[in-house]
Amino acid sequence: MSAATSRAWAVAAATPDPELPQLTVADLGILRAVDDADGCVVATITPTYSGCPALREISADLEHRLRAAGFKRVEVRAQLSPPWTTDWITPAGRRKLAAAGIAPPAPARRTSGPIPVTLEPRRAVTCPHCGSAATVETAAFSATACKALYRCRSCAEPFEAVKSL
């Protein structure tokens, strides 16, 4: 990777996610690559959920930040395959989630072969406030596509958790 491409990666990687601004798009695994194509900086991103409205914002932010950093020709490409998974959230991203009071996701389930129906409550997540494992899912969905709602039985605090996907 050339010095210019490394610098472009650093600029792009510092872009915050619009819905979880404590994390960058690199922390979340949304930024897949930054390449040089004949002097044009090409940033490749992947959507989290099909209906996630943040992708357009992220694309505009990336372009703006790269231009502001002095890159004259910038292109943002989207890549659907392979589909994003919460397993791509980096260790640093997981620490930042927990620090923001959002439980990081458990490892995602594998999706080859028939997928059984899940009728039991999902695996308990650890409370990001007190560390207790005695938590209960109060809703399978939350205010953004990527999160669910939980409550801690030990400290009684409600919290959000990133769904594993």
Binding site: A60, L80, P83, A108, S142
Partner: protein
């Protein structure tokens, strides 16, 4: 620009893209290579993508009609999220059809007539109660999950990627619906009776999902669907409905553009703003 408070960065707007996601929608496939693979029948691909996109668009609209009417805030959030996922799938699929038909996703969603829609009849009626909502969501997502899994290896890489992306989403929808069907079916005498009635009322529309159709380049395998439904019904102590399939009209149904009466009303509402102000941007 300070990176100390992440929300300050977001407030540092420099152009119009922060205005409620901008003053116009970007193409859902923007930045993706949309060339058609060699040897692929582009017309058939477009028709099939329209059918899958219409299923998602119309059902998403029916789910959106539940907003502000659900019994609990948590269920409101859940149904809104499911509708949003399906709307996202619809945008991608209509855009894929549009790359062949040279029409935008908005033109396809808002300026086609009833007969031009290819969705199955299952997604058309309004739910009469919450039991009907979860019954249809269970059937729809169990069927769609099988279909998307089949499509994940499809020869068009764009459709395959859209499908693979949808698999995780629809799995989550199916689990949500399945857990409610069990809770209601295995609940009180009244909840059980209403859950069974909802499934019985829906069942005539199920066979159409698995009818071999020339439009469908891929058909969902029924075996996987049956296993999922049987698991849920057995756990919920509900009976598998025995109702006969809804008759077709001269051998035609939803995929052929022949729809039920309620679809016209739904479409009129869905298209009303775009047709009243055809040049509007938002």
């Amino acid at each position: 620009m300070s990176d100390d408070n992440p929300y300050d960065i977001l407030a540092d707007a420099t152009d119009d893209h922060r205005w409620a996601f901008g003053t116009g929608f970007a193409d859902a496939l923007a930045g993706i290579d949309t060339s058609i693979p060699d040897g692929m029948d582009a017309g058939a691909l477009a028709t099939f993508c329209l059918a899958l996109g219409d299923d998602a668009l119309v059902y998403s609209h029916r789910l959106q009609q539940w907003m502000t009417r659900l019994p609990e805030l948590e269920e409101e959030t859940a149904v809104a999220n499911i509708a949003l996922d399906l709307l996202g799938q619809a945008r991608l699929l209509l855009s894929r059809a549009g790359t062949v038909l040279e029409r935008t996703e908005d033109e396809l969603a808002f300026f086609r007539s009833e007969q031009e829609f290819r969705n199955v009849r299952l997604v058309e009626h309004a739910d009469a109660d919450f039991a009907q909502l979860v019954a249809r969501l269970l059937v729809f997502s169990s069927w769609r999950l099988e279909l998307l899994q089949e499509l994940a290896a499809f020869a068009d890489p764009v459709l395959a990627a859209i499908a693979a992306k949808g698999v995780n989403e629809v799995t989550y929808h199916r689990d949500y619906a399945a857990q409610w069907v069990v809770r209601l079916g295995d609940g009180t005498e009244l909840s059980k009776q209403r859950m069974q009635a909802a499934l019985d009322a829906l069942w005539p529309l199920v066979d159409e999902l698995f009818r071999p159709d020339p439009i469908d380049l891929v058909t969902a395998p029924r075996a996987g669907f049956d296993v999922a439904i049987e698991t849920v019904l057995a756990t919920a102590a509900l009976d598998r409905p025995q109702a006969a399939p809804r008759a077709m009209v001269g051998g035609r149904s939803g995929r052929d553009g022949v729809h039920t009466e309620s679809f016209g009303h739904l479409l009129a509402e869905l298209q009303s703003v775009a047709r009243t102000y055809p040049d509007a941007t938002w």
